[in-house]
Amino acid sequence: MTGYLITGRPVPTTHQTCTDQRFSRVPTLQLPKRLQGRGTQIIGRYGHPCMLTTLEQSAPGWRSRLWADRWIYLFLVPTVVLIGTFTVYPVLASLWFSLLDWNGFGSAGAFVGLANYQELWGDRLFWNAFSNTLVFLAFAVPLRVGLALFLAVILNATFPLVRVFRTAIFLPVVTTAAIVGVVMRYVLDPTSGPINLVLLNSGILDQPVNFLGRSSTALYAAIGIWVWKWLGVTLIYWLAALQTIPRDVYEAAEVDGANPLYRFFYITLPMLTPFTIIITLITVIEATNVFDLMLTLTGGGPFYGTEVIDIFVYRQAFTANIPRLGYASAAAIFFGVCFAAIAAVQAVALIKFRARRRSS
């Protein structure tokens, strides 16, 4: 590959023309060592007469470039090894496992081709888990992102105790999700839980609500808990994003007589668009990883009412009497592919939407 390299090395043209003492010690023009003998030649120079920079035409191969940037690669090694071991390898291994009939007791399974995927296609409980995950996403993500933005706009102002409020909202984030699941079972308990006690004692209800025990309410209770638990993180994102909007824009709008609602919809929201996209994306990813909370909160019950895809995979791989690692892997891979497809469609739509907006 042919390219131009501009070395940062200042080279005086002649000692006669350059009187600046700072450059007097610079050696005569020569190629940097790393490029010598590799088909690189100097084709020109530019810059201040005292500090000419050489313009070199070089044809370094990938090897020489690799060698040239060896320190970069050296520092990348730990990351590559860790990601390779704990992310890439498991994904590739799952891909292979998904083609096996394997109970995990023996050292290897039997190759069955796409049979696991075929079975998934007709598995009601897999689709139930799939739809539970989508319902979770559909409710939890807008709720968390929207509510956090609402709170961020309020808490972005300065008023007494604002830090206390911010801390209070952030506090659940630092607790362990699995512990939150256990504690919430007590909080939502139909007989002794504080929520039911308040509802009963205040006369709003005359019968306790079994939030986690009814199929109709369990998933939504879980969504509520998840949103409460993670709201603080999103709030911090939004607060950081809000800091990027220059104050003078608001001041100008105020001078023009825009009320707070107008300022929000015509300044804040449009200026936050890039943040909205990234915050939503992060939240969507987090909303598909709710294993720890769900396992301790409901274990996927009652009657698979809160069985999201993670719990389905876990059940197949570990809690069944005869585990099915191949089938569990197939479920995980299949869901991953579907999810990637949804994300791709979303990305394409976004690009088209932007392009249309730009052209209009």
Partner: protein, 479 residues
């Protein structure tokens, strides 16, 4: 220890470090000395938390005059299989372990994956009641002895336990022959003042499936499989009636509302805290209550598996009991492990085991000699009259193991369906139960086909036992 308390004790930080280092050095020396003496350490994993004091003492006594010690790790039942899978695959399996589910299908799969090693030839298990328990696929593989049960098969988990003071306070009581309607009425009466009649551990699906099966058998069902025809009987009238009986508590409002989110341990402690009057549980309830709620136990009464009509005897058919502990094929100490396991076959051991008040010991007569709570004695005495041994196709035809190993769990299973009925996921459980029975039949047919394709000689007729009469023991000579 923080600085302040160290100063208060007159010890400097350096002294603590020095003594710590000295202690570590001493421990290292002691450890290497023990090794030099040739002590064999058996790594032992099991889930029998209530038996820890008994086993630890037994092993320590044995280690005092034998060069064998046991390194015990108590496991959570729900994590055990996962931990074992990882340990076996990474060549770090314990020498001895138990298989929590213990069902022959799992054992067949594990044996097929070469997890087990046979007991040493020196192992003796020859008393008549011991010999009766030996069966291919349960304790033996290929005719060799791999394991043995420490518990009797004569037990069920569906005795009805109630708090006498709670019932007396509302003018109710329960006799040993109380029928389903009596129990429902008593529960209704006891539901008052923030307290409820009955608590069911609905989150523990395996347990409630056992409860319901026992109740269905009390109503006359042959069990989950009707051995006379070999067909799954899960959608029979008796199963539906038993589920209706349970659901009636919810309709009456006498079911503890938190039932849906409680497992057996949590349910038991809330029952013991006085939140409900009745609780279905196995004989180990006496043991757990003795250890944790001794005051409450004094007011507790146990009645046998209740029947719809209140007859004085209901039969529960139980499958043969599988071996309790297995030696790992990766163990280099199979002989020493067998030696330690031999300790669990003596009369004294059965008496001591009874005194832990867990599942009844293999020798039921030991309970009479043991110092146990009256409720435990009563519950176990009832088992001798009412629990009968069911046949098992695996004993008739060892090739059935290949079918068991191939059969996959059907979901939703019985436990999940019960949970679903309570959570309002469907109105009529009968078609769902029928669907389960149909799916299990189809899965068994599929597994039989796979097994026969691979050369096994097995057919669905192996599940049919014409000469079986419900309410009787199906002994080995009847196969």
């Amino acid at each position: 220890m923080n600085n302040y308390s160290a100063e208060m004790a007159g010890i400097s930080r350096r002294a603590i470090l020095k003594s710590g280092a000295a202690f570590a050095a001493l421990a290292a020396v002691a450890g290497s000395r023990a090794f030099a003496q040739g002590t064999t350490t058996i790594k032992w994993w099991d889930i029998f938390q209530p038996l820890i004091p008994l086993h630890t003492k037994m092993w320590e006594d044995y280690a005092a005059d034998h060069p064998i010690s046991v390194d015990y790790t108590g496991m959570n039942p729900s994590d055990m299989m996962q931990a074992l899978q990882l340990a076996v695959r990474s060549n770090q399996a314990p020498d001895v372990f138990n298989v929590p589910s213990g069902d022959p299908a799992t054992l067949a799969s594990l044996n097929a994956a070469d997890w087990f090693a046979p007991l040493d030839d020196s192992f003796v298990f020859d008393k008549p009641y011991q010999q009766q328990t030996l069966a291919e696929g349960f304790t033996q593989f290929g005719g060799k002895l791999y394991s043995f049960p420490i518990f009797s098969f004569r037990w069920h988990s569906t005795s009805l336990w109630h708090s006498k003071p709670a019932l007396e306070a509302v003018g109710a009581s329960l006799s040993d022959t109380a029928n389903w309607d009596d129990i429902r009425a008593a529960a209704k009466a006891a539901t008052t003042d923030g307290k409820y009649g009955l608590l069911l551990p609905l989150q523990f699906t395996a347990r409630i499936a056992d409860h319901l099966t026992d109740l269905a058998m009390a109503a006359g069902a042959p069990g989950r499989i009707d051995w006379r025809t070999g067909e799954y009987a899960l959608a029979s009238d008796e199963f539906v009636a038993a589920l209706d009986f349970w659901l009636s508590f919810q309709k009456d409002g006498s079911l503890h509302p938190a039932s849906a989110s409680l497992d057996a341990r949590q349910g038991r402690s809330r029952w013991a805290a006085g939140e409900a009057a009745m609780f279905f549980d196995g004989p180990w309830n006496s043991g757990v209550l003795t250890n944790n709620f001794a005051d409450f136990l004094e007011g507790v009464e146990v009645t046998p598996l209740p029947t719809p009509a209140g007859v004085d005897k209901a039969y529960a058919q139980r499958p043969p009991i599988p071996g309790t502990f297995f030696i790992s094929s990766q163990s280099e100490h199979a002989k020493e492990a067998s030696e330690v396991m031999q300790l669990m076959t003596t009369e004294e051991y059965y008496v001591a085991l009874a005194e832990r008040m867990d599942q009844p010991p293999l020798d039921l007569d030991a309970v009479a000699k043991a110092n146990v709570h009256p409720t435990y004695r009563k519950a176990v005495a009832g088992f001798a009259d009412s629990v009968r041994l069911a046949p098992d196709p695996l004993i008739r035809n060892p090739d059935v193991a290949k079918v068991y190993a191939e059969m996959r769990d059907i979901t939703p299973g019985l436990g999940e369906i019960i949970q679903g009925a309570f959570s309002g996921s469907f109105d009529d459980p009968r078609p769902i139960l029928q669907d389960l029975a149909d799916q299990m039949t189809a899965e068994r047919d599929r597994a039989i086909k796979v097994a026969t394709d691979n050369g096994a000689k097995v057919s669905v007729d192996d599940w049919v036992f014409d000469n079986w009469t419900p309410g009787t023991d199906y002994t080995s000579d009847m196969y």
